[in-house]
Symmetry: D2
Amino acid sequence: MHQLSQEMKSCIEECLRCYQVCLGTAMTHCIEVGGKHTEPQHFRLMMDCVAVCQLAAELMSHKSQFHRQTCALCVEICEVCAHDCEALMGMEECVAACRSCAEACRAMV
Amino acid sequence: MHQLSQEMKSCIEECLRCYQVCLGTAMTHCIEVGGKHTEPQHFRLMMDCVAVCQLAAELMSHKSQFHRQTCALCVEICEVCAHDCEALMGMEECVAACRSCAEACRAMV
Amino acid sequence: MHQLSQEMKSCIEECLRCYQVCLGTAMTHCIEVGGKHTEPQHFRLMMDCVAVCQLAAELMSHKSQFHRQTCALCVEICEVCAHDCEALMGMEECVAACRSCAEACRAMV
Amino acid sequence: MHQLSQEMKSCIEECLRCYQVCLGTAMTHCIEVGGKHTEPQHFRLMMDCVAVCQLAAELMSHKSQFHRQTCALCVEICEVCAHDCEALMGMEECVAACRSCAEACRAMV
């Protein structure tokens, strides 16, 4: 009765996976490779994606009445981030995590 | 050149003030008083507000291209939280912080 | 070369799992059941655990020079939280997540 | 009775100020200037500082039994960050915020 639905738990896991992959990639691969990987527009997008994925996971864990709006914002940022990462080397894992997270969040909206 | 505008800095401060007041009130006053203060709907709203204020502060600090959408979500949650807190005893500081944060965020949208 | 070790990735996953289980349980089971589940000392411990697990996951994702100290703090809080949750009904998943996270973090210290 | 002490409120404000200054500087000044400002060791330290300041503010807002250990970790990271920022151009505000936060947290330990 008190539990979150299985669908919502899976979506929380996708958000935390995207959080982990994007933060880990930004702070290791991007910051070590530099160049286009640390251009402000790209790096900010990575960190925006990290932050919104964490918020979406948090509000879903709250059984929040605002999870739809939050997931919608997460979809928007993840899709822009995925598209931006595709243009750079070694970002395949980020692209996949963003796409997968966006798809799971879209199902919650 | 690299700096955030003064208006954005003020808005970040309002968000962090609302984060601090709502989190501090939820985890001291609400949890100690109990009753209506820990009813799931109210308590979740407080914690949603804490989380979205932190996200808004974070994305503005990033000079994020998504700060408008994030501030809009923050306005929505802060206003519902302010309204909900008005019905309970001892929540005046939360009501004021939510209203002030909503007003500052609305100016950024 | 830029990657995190497999051991550290597993530890990040344990921290995020504990974050998710403790936050989800606090904001659904605990807040809905009330009584001992929302006693300030217990509820704060749950939320402390959520916060320190997120910090540990974040600093490990940064390849931070401070991951040992952070994991040590995470071990301490998770163990107290596991012990506290054992005394309450329906907290088995939290106990297991806290124990597992503490064990993974202890290996990083 | 339910309130945080004035000293703790001031320390929370110092932590949130350091969070805001370091995050804002990292994501605008550092990422736009590049060079030594985005060297992995420096940039990670900035982001570690942001994360630990937020944790310290959060646990103090919880009236957590672990605020001493958390503030001690915050002192350690803020001092290393202040020292590291001193060697770079345009980081005076970060140095001051880290020093001030470390001093306030040391008084809580």
